[in-house]
């Protein structure tokens, strides 16, 4: 496969962005649909090329198709390359990204219809897709960081798409700034690695880590720095606060960026740099612990959210935590010599990326479904919805499939990938395994709480002033078809040999998976969650209100998102930084810096005032001055002769 075709995977959407923003928007603004078709055509082209690449990778040895470098900058001894690597990991990612992106763009034609910024939306979506594709194909850290920032930028632009809404603008800013904290750590790590090893190339870094050249505290610090970027981008604890607020953006944006692709960039980064992480026990333990903790932490907040997109956002954070957990525990196993090197490297990546793969489908599906529900009711608040399964049967069916898949019910896709992670977690740790199991229960519960609140019961009116219950209707086909396709994959994706493709020795056995006790335990937990949700929200055998009152302070803590927003915004930003550090800096600027400058001027003026006294215009003063001068000359003559 020619390298130009590989580059075209990235360039097609980017060119689409340029075409839309430079040609279509200025000149053809009256026909916004053209920008939609341009985007879809470009991404379809990328998809075709990606599938071709996938096939080629499958046939290549070691599943590595190409790893090329084009020299970009040469500054003295430093050479910065544009590097493309197409191996199994990259191939899976490009196919997933372009496929889900294509379906979301088709959905967007229906969802964003009539919006004034239609063309702008598709321009940003193209740019985002191009950046994400570039990110997964980059083979050196600097080039990867370029696209990393690109997706961050597009996220900002798309979250704040309806920038007239102050909440959206604020959310976009928050997303950008919180991820920026992580990106800072990432950039420091990149530079640190370069200073210590002299290379940006990921392959070389991996070799150095595995061979022990790069080790010790250098390796740990660098790995943690890289991980901080992943924490920011994937919304892990403690940089998780931006993802729920990011739901202010349009729903297809949430589906694509904050479910299937951008937030998974963090997981992808850790997977790509997995050897570097695995060789440092401290770093990999950090990854595992943060992943496991985030999973249960976010799930707990999803239990009480009333906005359906927020439930899905917390679910995304939680599932990303699962992926990090998968990477973490396998790396831990390797660090403690419980696994061989080649086996561990492939297994860690396989476990996490398999879950990423299945998650992309069902999470995007769930988001698109929520968009469809809001299309009919005018709101995302589940407490105002209800009974939609009669009016929107297709939406209901696909949403249900997605929920079952997320809850990990056999034989849907989510079961297989979650299974992989739980299995590995049990092998190497018991605490995190326990947390992960509890999270399975919570996941099922909150997901089916959402299902029952939204689609069962009686319609509670929706947004005031919108349709009455008689005019609830199903969404148009252009929105339904992508959902159906995603639902199809949410069922079968687990049956695809992703693990083997990534080089791990996983064996797929359709019925054999039910023999392990872990599988049964997870199914029981999932079933229990579904049943509890059924009991509370469908049959009302238990009252949600009484539970809430009973757990009073616990409930309100969780409902307030554990007060993290207050901590970050009120305490850190306002008190410590703005009023503390920045006020101090401003004081220094006003009194010391400006004071010095003003002081110099004041000294000059003061000196002038003094010197002015010699210029009186009176002759006697001048005469006195002359004689003083004469005396001085005589004195000098005496002294120096």
């Amino acid at each position: 496969m020619p390298n130009a075709a590989l580059l075209a995977i990235i360039l097609l959407p980017v060119c689409s962005f340029l075409f839309i923003s430079l040609v279509l928007r200025p000149f053809f603004n009256r026909r916004p649909l053209i920008s939609a078709y341009t985007t879809i055509a470009a991404i379809a082209g990328s998809l075709v090329l990606s599938i071709w690449a996938l096939i080629e990778v499958n046939g290549a040895e070691h599943h590595l198709l190409t790893n090329v470098n084009y020299q970009w900058l040469a500054i003295g001894d430093t050479v910065i390359n544009i590097g493309i690597r197409m191996d199994s990991l990259a191939a899976i990612m490009v196919v997933t990204v372009s496929f889900v992106s294509l379906l979301v763009q088709i959905y967007s034609i229906g969802y964003m219809k009539g919006d004034g910024g239609f063309a702008r939306y598709f321009a940003f979506m193209s740019l985002f897709t191009g950046s994400m594709l570039g990110l997964v194909m980059a083979n050196n850290l600097l080039f990867l960081f370029l696209f990393w920032e690109g997706v961050g930028l597009c996220s900002y632009l798309l979250i704040g798409f309806w920038f007239h809404k102050p909440a959206a603008a604020r959310a976009a800013m928050k997303a950008f700034l919180v991820t920026r904290i992580g990106d800072f750590g990432f950039l420091v790590a990149i530079i640190f690695l370069y200073v210590k090893t002299g290379t940006f190339d990921i392959g070389e870094l991996q070799t150095q880590a595995l061979s022990g050249v790069l080790s010790g505290s250098t390796l740990t610090l660098a790995a943690i720095g890289v991980f901080s970027g992943a924490v920011g981008k994937s919304g892990q604890f403690p940089l998780h606060t931006w993802l729920p607020d990011a739901m202010e953006g349009p729903t297809p944006v949430s589906a694509l960026i904050h479910a299937a692709t951008m937030v998974t960039a963090g997981v992808y980064l850790v997977a790509r740099m997995f050897p570097v992480f695995a060789c440092s026990e401290t770093a990999i333990v950090v990854v595992a612990v943060i992943g496991g903790f985030t999973a249960i932490f976010a799930a707990s907040m999803g239990l009480v959210a009333s906005d359906i997109k927020r439930v899905l956002a917390y679910s995304t954070i939680s599932q990303l935590g699962y992926m990090m957990l998968g990477l973490g525990v396998v790396g831990y196993g390797y660090a403690n010599q419980m696994l061989g090197q080649e086996e561990a490297m492939a297994l860690g990546v396989a476990v996490a990326i398999f879950h990423l793969f299945t998650h992309a489908f069902f999470k995007a599906l769930l988001f698109l479904g929520s968009g469809s529900a809001s299309h009919a009711t005018g709101t995302f608040n589940m407490l105002k919805m209800g009974g939609l399964r009669k009016a929107q049967p297709w939406t209901y069916a696909t949403f249900l499939i997605g929920s079952l898949s997320l809850a990990g019910i056999w034989p849907l896709a989510g079961f297989w990938s979650k299974e992989g992670i739980l299995h590995e977690a049990y092998a190497y740790t018991s605490v995190l395994f326990g947390l992960a199991m509890v999270t399975v229960f919570m996941t099922a519960f909150y997901m089916f709480r959402a299902v029952f609140l939204t689609f069962h019961g009686e319609y509670r009116g929706g947004e005031a002033g919108d349709h009455g219950s008689h005019s609830l209707h199903e969404s148009p086909k252009v929105m339904l078809i992508p959902m159906v396709i995603l639902a199809f994959f949410a069922v079968i994706a687990g049956w695809l040999p992703v693990g083997e493709f990534l080089g791990a020795e996983t064996h797929f056995s359709f019925f054999g998976a039910l023999t392990g006790w872990i599988a049964w335990l997870s199914l029981v937990m999932g079933g229990a969650g579904i049943f509890l949700a059924y009991a509370i929200y469908c049959r009302k055998w238990l009252s949600a209100d009484s539970i809430r009152k009973g757990l009073g302070p616990v409930y309100s803590t969780i409902f307030r998102k554990y007060f993290f927003d207050e901590l970050y915004e009120n305490f850190f930003v306002m008190r410590a930084l703005v009023n503390g550090l920045f006020a101090g800096m401003q004081w220094v600027d006003t009194y010391i810096v400006d004071g010095t400058v003003n002081g110099v001027a004041a000294v000059t003026v003061g000196a002038g005032k003094v010197v002015r006294r010699l210029e009186t215009g009176q002759l006697q003063v001048y005469g006195l001055a002359i004689f003083i001068g004469i005396l001085a000359i005589i004195a000098c003559l005496f002294i120096f002769s």
Partner: protein, 101 residues
């Protein structure tokens, strides 16, 4: 005691210093002029003393010329002072400050 050249020179210096003090500190312009005359006379004494003790008549010639110049200077100086007096109605030297900043 014998009066030597130094005595005359010291007398000249004393007169010069007194005239200098008066020229720099007095406020009445005419008095300043008088003190300037005093200074010129002090110099004359020195000139003549040198002429006497060094047997050179040039000292006295110099003294004559100084007198000439002094006379001319007093004439013009007084004319100036009176002209200013006509204008400003005062001869207070501290009030002559047109050249002030």
């Amino acid at each position: 005691m014998n009066v030597g050249l130094e005595h005359f020179l010291i007398l000249s210096a004393i007169l010069f210093a007194i005239g200098l003090y008066g020229a720099l500190s007095k406020r009445n312009a005419v008095v300043i002029l008088m003190c300037i005359e005093l200074m010129l006379n002090a110099v004359n004494i020195a000139m003549v003393a040198f002429s006497h003790y060094k047997a050179a008549i040039a000292g006295q010639v110099f003294a004559i010329f100084i007198m000439v110049v002094a006379a001319a200077e007093v004439a013009v100086g007084l004319a100036l002072i009176i002209a200013i007096y006509r204008h400003k109605k005062t001869v207070d030297a501290e009030k002559f400050d047109l050249m002030k900043w």
